[in-house]
């Protein structure tokens, strides 16, 4: 072995000026210290010169000679300690050199240069092994495997495999000895490094068939590799790209021995997919990953294999689709639908298949495309496509519109003089003019047209007649809450909601009292309960928003003015017209901010925030026979929590805000370990809005303990929550808390 090193270095030494030093080094090498020990020896021993020798050693390609030597020796059982040391030196050379030279190492020792070089050396060694095998000589590959494994586990897969994989792909294409060498190379990697090597290959192989050629039946022979391929990559990790998944599962499907594993993998994937706790607790990205894997597996399954596990597929599909549809996150629901549709179309080739309605977007299309088995790489010329396109165009252009003017008929209707038809407008049924009439129509009318017109007109009517509305506000709210779509009106839900909001803003206290009490009463559908929440939020928004309020006030205030003092009003008018004229003819040169005066007025939400908020927060933990917020109706709970967050946010600057904040923090505390991520997101928003709305002094004086508790919980969420959005929200909350602290510090000074 040491001979190999010396022969490698002596060639070049003669031409250099610092010949003597090198000779000294070589002598030292020969004395038995060994070249690699030089590095670990004291820096006083000419480090630069040693490195130069090493550099030459590398550039001469002697490292392959070194490895080849070891391989030959290994066949005759060399000393394991020496091998171990040598392995260590070969793999860690860049680190050692860098340590020795304090980072001033020559480029060849940079990892991005060294490891590709090492990869090339490995190929050379393998070449020699292949030659010697053909020559009938026995030699061991295990040292090369060790090198590969160690490099990979040190995280240099990219550098070394980017050289190895393409070369090996080429070499194994038609040569079965090369294939065997390659399989052996991977098989001989020790278990502790197997994962890194297998993953590297899976990630870098250009296709499943190549991967199959490179790895052979490794997964069947090696337990560790099997674990990595069938468990770790698929079920425990979710960072890999779709092509990697396709590579991996395609690899499993390409050999009859491995196909058994493919079916096993599919069953395990489906088990995870169909487990309600996995759906609840794992991040959406992982669920998407698993869904992708399932779809790819399905694409590889053949008819008889499906036949053999049809029943199991059906059972797990039914379970999975149930818990996916239960989810609060639309993304998860849709994933469930797509996967279930795909499974059902696979297992029922002739019977009825599941069909869901969901939005076809890029993600859905991508997922569905996975169900089509990927064809073996064939990138044909793009010409046919273009041709197709142009053909299409010419076809579409072909049907020429019949020319009406070429009509052979000479006579026309010119002798008939038309009457005036300007009155021919679209028909409109007359909408009711009074609020009470609306109530009549909505409760008892059979006239569908009138009913439609009423639904459409109600909002404006309510806003125009606040006094009349107040007389019947609760009744109207009740009717609207129970109003169902009689005919197919465009935007019915929105029309009804706007009318409800109008009623609630016109007469907030009684209507809010009614709506909040109905939220917790019997015999409402989830939809109605959520409607209540939406209406409360929208009304609160409208009431607390100064601009829209200003506008309505304005029109209301001007009316009596016109009636009582027509004279003064007209003079105002005159003033306004002149002002406008001046404005339109004057060019202003100003650099400052535009001088828009914000409409100001009392916050209407101030006096009623509590009426919106407290009734909602009081009864959440009392289950009814038809409605259990803390049980299975967690979707409504999620909406409730979000609603409370918004109400809290809108209650900024109101008197009740401190009491509300305190109640809300307690509410959050009670629900902080809820399993549903949508609910947790709502809780975190609640905290944000509390921190933003409640004045700092009140927060710190009245709610210190709650805040401290919350802070520790937030810390936990940031670290442990499986949902990315939750972690992000929690982090933001922590930042808000930090800001509060800073503010506190600056205030006294």
């Amino acid at each position: 072995m040491y001979q190999a090193i010396t022969t490698g270095t002596t060639v070049q030494t003669t031409e250099h000026d610092n010949l003597e030093k090198k000779l000294e080094i070589l002598r030292a090498v020969k004395r038995g210290g060994g070249l690699f020990q030089l590095l670990s020896s004291s820096p006083s021993f000419y480090p630069r010169e040693v490195v130069e020798v090493l550099e030459q050693f590398l550039q001469e390609g002697r490292i392959s000679a070194l490895m080849w030597e070891v391989c030959q020796q290994q066949a005759q059982a060399g000393s394991p300690e020496v091998q171990e040391a040598l392995l260590n030196k070969v793999v860690c050379l860049p680190d050692h050199v860098s340590n020795e030279l304090q980072g001033k190492n020559p480029p060849v020792f940079f990892p991005q240069n060294y490891f590709p070089l090492l990869g090339g050396a490995i190929i050379q060694v393998l070449q020699k092994i292949s030659d010697s095998l053909r020559g009938g000589l026995d030699c061991s590959i295990s040292f090369v495997s060790h090198v590969l494994g160690k490099v990979c586990v040190h995280g240099r897969q990219k550098e070394i495999l980017s050289v190895l994989v393409p070369r090996l792909t080429d070499l194994t294409k038609s040569d079965c000895i090369w294939q065997r060498i390659c399989w052996r190379l991977v098989e001989c990697v020790p278990d502790r490094w197997m994962e890194a090597v297998v993953l590297g290959f899976v990630q870098r192989a250009p296709g499943a068939d190549t991967l199959s050629r490179l790895l052979g039946n490794l997964v069947v022979k090696n337990k560790k590799a099997q674990f990595v391929v069938t468990q770790k990559v698929l079920l425990l990790q979710y960072c890999h790209t779709t092509p990697v998944l396709q590579n991996l599962l395609g690899y499993l499907s390409l050999d009859s021995l491995r196909r058994a594993l493919l079916i096993k993998v599919l069953q395990e994937l489906l088990e995870t997919w169909g487990s309600s706790s996995a759906v609840k607790h794992s991040p959406p990205e992982q669920q998407q990953y698993i869904s992708k894997a399932i779809l790819i597996c399905l694409s590889h399954l053949k008819e008889p294999e499906i036949e053999s596990c049809r029943q199991e597929l059906l059972t797990s599909m039914m379970e999975g689709v149930k818990c996916h549809l239960d989810s609060n996150l639309p993304q998860i629901r849709r994933l469930g639908m797509i996967v279930a549709e795909s499974i059902s179309s696979k297992i029922n080739t002739d019977g009825p298949v599941l069909k869901f309605q969901y939005e076809e977007d890029d993600e859905a299309r991508e997922l569905k495309s996975l169900l089509v088995p990927t064809p073996p790489l064939c990138i044909g010329p793009s010409l046919p496509d273009d041709e197709l396109e142009s053909n299409k165009k010419s076809h579409t252009a072909a049907p020429v519109m019949p020319d009406e003017e070429s009509d052979a008929e000479l006579d026309s209707d010119d002798d008939l003089i038309p009457y005036d038809m300007s009155e021919d407008k679209e028909l409109k049924t007359k909408a009711p003019v009074y609020i009470r009439e609306c109530i009549e129509v909505l409760t008892g009318s059979e006239d569908v047209d009138k009913w439609e017109a009423t639904v459409k007109a109600l909002e404006t009517l309510v806003r125009k007649n606040p006094a009349a509305t107040r007389e019947v506000s609760v009744e109207l709210a009740k009717i609207l809450l129970h109003l169902e779509e009689k005919t197919c009106i465009e935007g019915f839900v929105e029309l009804r909601q706007r009318a409800q909001v109008a009623v609630l803003t016109t007469d907030p206290i009684p209507v809010a009292k009614y709506l909040t009490s109905q939220f917790y009463s019997l015999n409402y559908s989830l939809r109605q309960r959520m409607d209540i929440l939406d209406v409360l939020v929208l009304a609160a928004q409208e009431l607390s928003y100064p601009k829209s309020r200003g506008k309505t006030k304005h029109s209301g205030a001007q009316k009596p003015c016109i009636q009582l003092l027509p004279g003064s009003d007209s003079s105002k008018d005159w003033r306004r017209i002149v002002d406008e004229r001046i404005k339109s003819k004057t060019r202003r040169f100003a650099t400052g901010q535009s001088q828009v005066e914000l409409a100001s007025g009392p916050n209407e939400f101030n006096s009623i925030a509590g009426h919106f908020f407290f009734p909602l927060i009081q009864h959440f933990d009392r289950p009814l026979t038809t409605f259990d917020l803390l049980g299975e109706d967690y979707f409504v709970l999620g909406r409730l929590v979000h609603t409370l967050a918004i109400l809290m946010y809108l209650a900024v600057n109101t008197v009740a805000v401190t009491a509300m904040g305190k109640a809300l923090l307690e509410f959050v505390w009670a629900l902080r370990f809820h399993t549903d991520s949508y609910v947790r997101q709502g809780l975190l928003s609640c905290i944000s809005s509390t921190l933003l709305s409640v004045p700092t002094e009140r927060l710190l004086e009245d709610m210190t303990e709650e805040l401290l508790e919350t802070q520790s919980w937030l810390g936990d969420v940031v670290e442990k929550d499986p949902d990315g959005d939750c972690r992000r929200l929690a982090l933001q909350n922590l930042l808000l808390l930090e800001n509060l602290k800073k503010k506190l510090k600056t205030v006294p000074s």
Partner: protein, 328 residues
Amino acid sequence: MALPPPDPQFVLRGASAAVHTLHFSCGSQEPDVPILFSGSENGFVHVWNLKTHRVDTALDGHGRKSVYCVETMGGKDRLLSQGRDQRICLWDLAEGRTSVADSVFTENVGFCRCSLLKVAQGRWLMAMAAKALEEVQVLELPSKTSVCTLKPEVGAKLGMPMCLKLWQLNCGSQPLLLAGYEDGSVVLWNLSMGKALSQLVCHQEPVMSLDFDSEKAKGISGSSEKVLSIWSLNEQQNLQVYKTHKLVNAGISDITIRPDKKILATAGWDHRIRIFGWKKLKPLAVLDYHTATVHCVSFSDHKNPSERLLAAGSKDHRISIWSIYTQT
């Protein structure tokens, strides 16, 4: 400035129910008075005297079930009426009689009006929707013998027939039937072969009414949509869309081309009667009088063109009589 649309010449009140069908009989010489027959929802056929504007007789033959088609056979003495009691009655009104001379039990529950065509002296063909959902039956009257039954091909999915029009190119030639169906298509049937010659999808919604001009080989159909569809029949007996006309409001319940083929009238769900020139489908007038859906429009058969009338019956129980474009 175009003239404002005219008012009705007079209005017939007293049908006391929604009017579903109208038919003039004004062709006879003096001293016979011009007559208008109307069928209404309460099951009566009213015989209106157009001189006095009063009801001469009210015929009760459909068990108070809505009458939705009336036709005369020859003179004003022989009347055909079709009602929702699934019967077609043939009345003998001569010499002041008001009796049902004969009746046909259609067994059809739809609203499809029957269509009558005189093929020889004293011999008529009548097409009507049959008992089976998609079928049309053609009978010879007065013998009531079945001529043929027109069944769509299996799997054609046309739905119920909605309106029918029997016609022949000239006297003695092969009678043909145009039928509008629930799926919005119009089918041309050959009666002797019992075979569909051509099918044209004119509408997305059921065809509510159609009329055909055999001279120009052109027809028009209306549906519950906002469009009128005009189609033509070529020498190969193929129907093809000629043009479409967009309306302001949706829903056409009846279309009639005036016998002189100059103008046509439509009865709209928007309470309005629309008049178009037939050649180019030029919009001529919108008659806005009724306060509810107009169910039917009919032109009179006066010998003197200047006396010609247009009648429209509506859900608001009234029949409006118009004199419009009588000089051309």
